[in-house]
């Protein structure tokens, strides 16, 4: 058998639900690991992404660190995939786009219930927030989009098998949903 396909995944501004769904392909994961090996993912412990065949991104772009990780992925992955509603269109986190960033931060750190020491954090260790949350294709080129919040295990499975087998990507009706 040829070399295994290298896959990396990352969660940007998302809830990890898409990664959970990735695990939801159940026993098929065994089939999958026959074909692929994982580079950086939250599931492995590799911290930097190496050259990969497929990069899978969960979550939208909300801060400077997200931008950096996303760019690294784009640089190292032949195929980049937006996985789930947040990566595809910003998702729930993008609901903050209706507000000024200052309003959001004040609500969370100053006016929030039970805030002990009200101040907006400014530690250089903390990733800087973008004024809006963006889908990942507004920052880097994206090759494939898998909608869903999260996409079902079946959807992910259909996609991965088609991609790996070099078939055109297509889904049965029930596998496309935006929620």
């Amino acid at each position: 058998m040829a070399d295994k396909i290298r896959v990396a995944t990352a969660s940007l501004c998302g809830c990890f639900g898409c990664h959970m769904s990735l695990l939801d392909i159940d026993e098929r994961i065994l089939e999958l690991v026959q074909l692929v090996e994982f580079d950086r993912t939250p599931l492995t412990d590799i911290k930097t992404v190496g050259d990969c065949d497929i990069g899978i991104i969960e979550g939208g772009v909300a801060n400077a660190e997200n931008v950096e990780v996303l760019r690294e992925f784009r640089k190292h992955c032949k195929v980049l995939v937006a996985l789930g509603a947040c990566a595809v269109n910003g998702g729930i986190p993008a609901m903050r786009n209706s507000f000024e960033l200052r309003e959001c931060l004040e609500e969370a750190y100053i006016e929030g219930i039970g805030v002990a020491n009200p101040q907006i954090p400014s530690d250089p260790e903390i990733p800087m927030l973008l004024n809006k949350v963006h889908p990942i294709h507004e920052v880097v080129k994206v090759d494939h989009f898998l909608p869903g919040c999260p996409p079902s295990g079946d959807t992910i499975w259909t996609f991965l098998t088609e991609l790996i087998e070099g078939k055109p990507i297509g889904f049965p009706y029930e596998q496309i949903h935006y929620d």
Partner: protein
């Protein structure tokens, strides 16, 4: 007078039917805006009650027309013409100067309520720009000196009536005359000559002559005028209408302005002729708000015609030949030049293009058969009725008979009005207007065609390069991207918003053009522009959306090297400025460490 009194007077019941009053709504609003500098909430409530219509619909009207406002404008309300032709003459610097001198930001009234400064789409003064509208009146030939003078007058609260008359001077600048404008034929349509021919013969005879002349609409689409009149005449109804389209909103077009200024009598003669032929008793001239300064003189011409028995009851003594013309003002909406939007606007509504069929010739104003023609078309028809089809056909090509008025501006020595036989080459036109070192020509305005100078062998004609009149010249020192950007912004501003491809696609396209101008577009973005542009062309509801992508597509197709030289070198560029997107967070946290910035990728 207080605002209350003004409003009461303007909307005083006219004794006509509610439907008739309803179609005056936009006219009421224009008057209130003109006299109060905004439409007070009170006026909206009163009008809603009077016309028994929802107040929100009146607000919808105000929100649609750029010249109507629910908030007060300054006592001096300045709108600087923002067409590319004004840009070429330095208008953007003048805008800055104006804002700096007066201490205002564009669009925001000064705190003391004295003045607002804003921009507006092409005002049609392109041959003597840069131009502005001051409380609805045109000021031409702006220079930095003139701007300083204007600022001083404003600060001194000098009444506009006391301003130097030369500020308001608008010249005709007719540079070449042919069939229509020649001195010899000037008398042909005077004193109702065309109407006399009609009365000596009959409507059918006139229709035959017009059809034989091959006259096609001068507003752009080139529909056969004889056929249009015949359809209207044949349509079942007891009331028909004749509408003159004087909306002239296409950037770079100003020939109707000149015709209305100096040949209004011939234009009205043409409308009356049409009325006699199709059997209409009522006509409208839809005058773009930018040309409000022509309103009084035009009304004077109408009065004279009434006095001479050329309008009103029993025209020229003929029993049953009753026709009169009313002038309706537009209020800053290019889309209202589209004939079905124009009709909606005449009915006092938002100018949303109608679904067709049915067409205006059978279901137009108030759902009655209506002829809508361009100003120049009516004038030509009047002359043809008197001078004959052969006289007209002596000029032009078999497909495009007669002559065409071009309004020429941009990089040439002699901008102005040129009347040419159809079929004239672009090369000839360029020579005549004194264009040197030409890079490109924009024919037919923002909705038209951009041609590289290498195409100057092409001809002005319906079958080759068609135009409603606009002809703009760009020399080699110009950046064509400025033009394309100006036009993309124009269309976003002027889209009526009814249909998806134009409303949303137009904005997406504009943003991509901005990206290109800023040096951030890639080949990927070029592909997107082509895709969005072609979707707009195919799927839009009306001519605005289907022509809006033309300047972008022409740029991409005819000037590939120029585009290439402006592309970013990376394969893909973000849709927004990443580092700028952190500015808000930097302001809030006070951070400026490396982590508080995002590098551009190289």
């Amino acid at each position: 007078m207080t605002h209350e009194e003004i409003i009461r007077e303007i909307i005083a019941p006219s004794g006509t039917s509610r439907a008739a009053e309803r179609s005056q709504l936009l006219q009421y609003l224009c008057q209130i805006q003109h006299q109060c500098s905004y439409i007070p909430g009170d006026a909206i409530t009163q009008l809603a009650t009077r016309l028994q219509m929802p107040a929100s619909e009146i607000q919808g009207l105000i929100g649609f027309y750029a010249f109507l406002h629910e908030q007060p404008r300054g006592d001096y309300d300045i709108l600087l013409s923002d067409s590319i032709s004004d840009h070429l003459l330095g208008s953007r610097l003048l805008l800055q100067q104006l804002c700096n001198r007066l201490g205002v930001a564009p669009g925001v009234p000064r705190a003391d309520g004295r003045v607002t400064v804003d921009t507006t789409s092409c005002t049609g003064i392109c041959d003597q720009g840069p131009a502005m509208l001051l409380n609805g009146r045109v000021i031409s030939r702006l220079t930095d000196r003139r701007i300083d003078h204007i600022c001083a007058l404003i600060e001194a609260s000098t009444a506009v009536t006391q301003w130097p008359a030369e500020f308001f001077q608008v010249d005709d600048n007719i540079r070449r005359r042919d069939l229509l404008l020649s001195e010899e034929t000037a008398a042909a349509t005077m004193d109702g000559k065309a109407l006399r021919v009609l009365l000596e013969t009959d409507g059918n005879a006139i229709l035959d002559v017009i059809e034989k002349s091959g006259l096609r609409g001068r507003g752009g689409a080139g529909f056969r005028t004889g056929m249009k009149w015949r359809f209207c005449r044949q349509a079942e109804s007891d009331s028909r209408y004749v509408v003159c389209n004087a909306d002239e909103g296409e950037p770079g077009t100003f020939k109707d302005r000149v015709l209305l200024n100096s040949y209004a009598d011939s234009v009205f003669e043409g409308m009356t002729l049409c009325a006699g032929v199709v059997g209409a008793s009522r006509g409208y001239l839809y005058l773009r708000g930018e040309y409000r300064y022509l309103l009084e003189p035009l009304q004077a011409v109408l009065r004279q015609r009434r006095e001479k028995g050329l309008l009103g009851q029993c025209i020229l003594g003929k029993d049953g030949f009753d026709f009169d013309i009313e002038i309706h003002l537009g209020a800053g909406a290019y889309i209202c030049g589209e004939e079905s939007s124009l009709i909606e606007s005449l009915e006092g509504k938002r100018g949303i293009p109608r679904n067709r069929p049915p067409f205006p010739v059978t279901h137009g104003y108030l759902n009655q058969p209506t002829v809508v023609n361009n100003v120049e078309t009516f004038m030509a028809a009047a002359k043809i009725a008197v001078l004959g089809a052969d006289w007209f056909r002596q000029a032009g090509t078999p497909e495009s008979t007669g002559t065409k008025l071009l309004s020429i501006c941009g990089d040439c020595e002699r901008p102005g009005i040129y009347e040419y036989p159809f079929g004239v080459t672009i090369k000839q036109v360029l020579e005549d207007c004194g264009a040197v070192n030409t890079q490109a020509i924009q024919v037919a305005g923002a909705a038209g065609t951009t041609l590289p100078v290498a195409d100057n062998g092409r001809r002005i004609a319906f079958e080759d390069v068609s135009t409603g009149g606009s002809f703009m010249v760009f020399n080699n020192d110009r950046d064509l991207l400025d033009m394309v950007q100006n036009f993309s912004h124009f269309f976003v501003h002027e889209s009526c918003g009814f249909c998806t491809p134009c409303r949303v696609g137009g904005s997406l396209l504009k943003n991509l053009v901005d990206k290109l101008v800023n040096g951030h577009a890639t080949h990927y973005d070029v592909g997107e522009m082509k895709q969005i542009g072609s979707l707009m062309k195919r799927a839009s509801h009306c001519g605005l959306g289907s022509t809006a992508p033309n300047p972008v597509l022409d740029l991409l197709n005819h000037f590939p090297q120029l585009v290439e030289s402006r592309l970013a070198h990376s394969g893909y560029e973000p849709a927004f400025d990443l580092d700028a997107a952190l500015q808000e967070a930097r302001d809030i946290t006070g951070r400026d460490d490396p982590g508080a910035h995002i590098r551009t990728e190289t």
